[in-house]
């Protein structure tokens, strides 16, 4: 399947339309409902949870980690976007609320996360309680972790999964 940035601008806008109407606050609120649902489910442990977000979901992972810190202790962003910005709600501003660990996997060729942004995020997360790790995958493009796309990068994605599962083993103990 084609990746988003290989579509023409009009088609991209069509794909992005639902996303543009979704606010961070909705995601945080929906996640609260999900936490309550899982709290009533005997199959799910209460308390410590993990999160993985892709693209815009990466921003959402950081939002929920900051707004539901009692739950999210192992969070991962894969080719996340809008992680650092001038907006008042930019997720990097939540750095002091994060608990446990945060991992970000970036593609070297991802135009949404140029080196200054990657460095800026690391700087924003330094000296806070959360243990932050990241990887910049050589030659990987935006969307590298999506297995059905033309830009899927198996080596980069496998490295992400290895690091994410290692984080889960450290933070989500039986």
């Amino acid at each position: 399947m084609i990746s988003l940035h290989h579509l023409d601008p009009a088609a991209q806008e069509e794909v992005l339309k639902p996303m543009r109407s979704q606010t961070d606050a909705q995601v945080v609120e929906d996640t609260g409902a999900l936490i309550r649902f899982l709290g009533a489910d005997a199959v799910a442990c209460s308390g410590a949870m993990g999160a993985i977000g892709l693209c815009t979901g990466g921003r959402h992972v950081m939002q929920v980690a900051g707004h539901h810190p009692a739950n999210f202790v192992a969070s991962a962003c894969l080719h996340g976007m809008r992680l650092v910005g001038d907006d008042a709600d930019s997720p990097h501003r939540l750095a002091d609320r994060f608990r446990g660990e945060l991992y970000c996997g970036f593609g070297e060729k991802d135009h949404c996360t140029p080196p200054p942004l990657v460095a800026g995020l690391a700087e924003a997360l330094r000296d806070h309680a959360v243990a932050y790790r990241f990887a910049v995958h050589r030659a990987a493009e935006r969307g590298h972790a999506l297995p059905d796309r033309d830009i899927y990068d198996k080596q980069a994605a496998n490295r992400d999964w290895g690091l994410i599962f290692a984080m889960f083993r450290r933070q989500l103990r039986p």
Partner: protein
């Protein structure tokens, strides 16, 4: 809120992992990623965008699958 939920076959309880999707919407590509997490030993609900009516959140009844 539509949500896909997958869980290990082994008896729980398991830690939950929420998968936050990209712009494309809920689809098999994401369900596969969720299964990959759940096979390892934890439940992996995968949430979708929108609605706002969180009172209607019933992930299990939406699209039940097992790992």
């Amino acid at each position: 809120m539509k949500t896909f939920l997958t869980q290990p076959e082994q008896e729980g309880p398991h830690h939950a992992v929420v998968l936050y999707m990209d712009a494309w919407g809920l689809r098999e590509e994401l369900f596969d990623l969720a299964r990959r997490v759940a096979v390892w030993g934890i439940a992996a609900p995968c949430r979708t965008s929108i609605t706002g009516s969180v009172g209607a959140c019933e992930p299990r009844s939406a699209t039940p699958h097992s790992a």
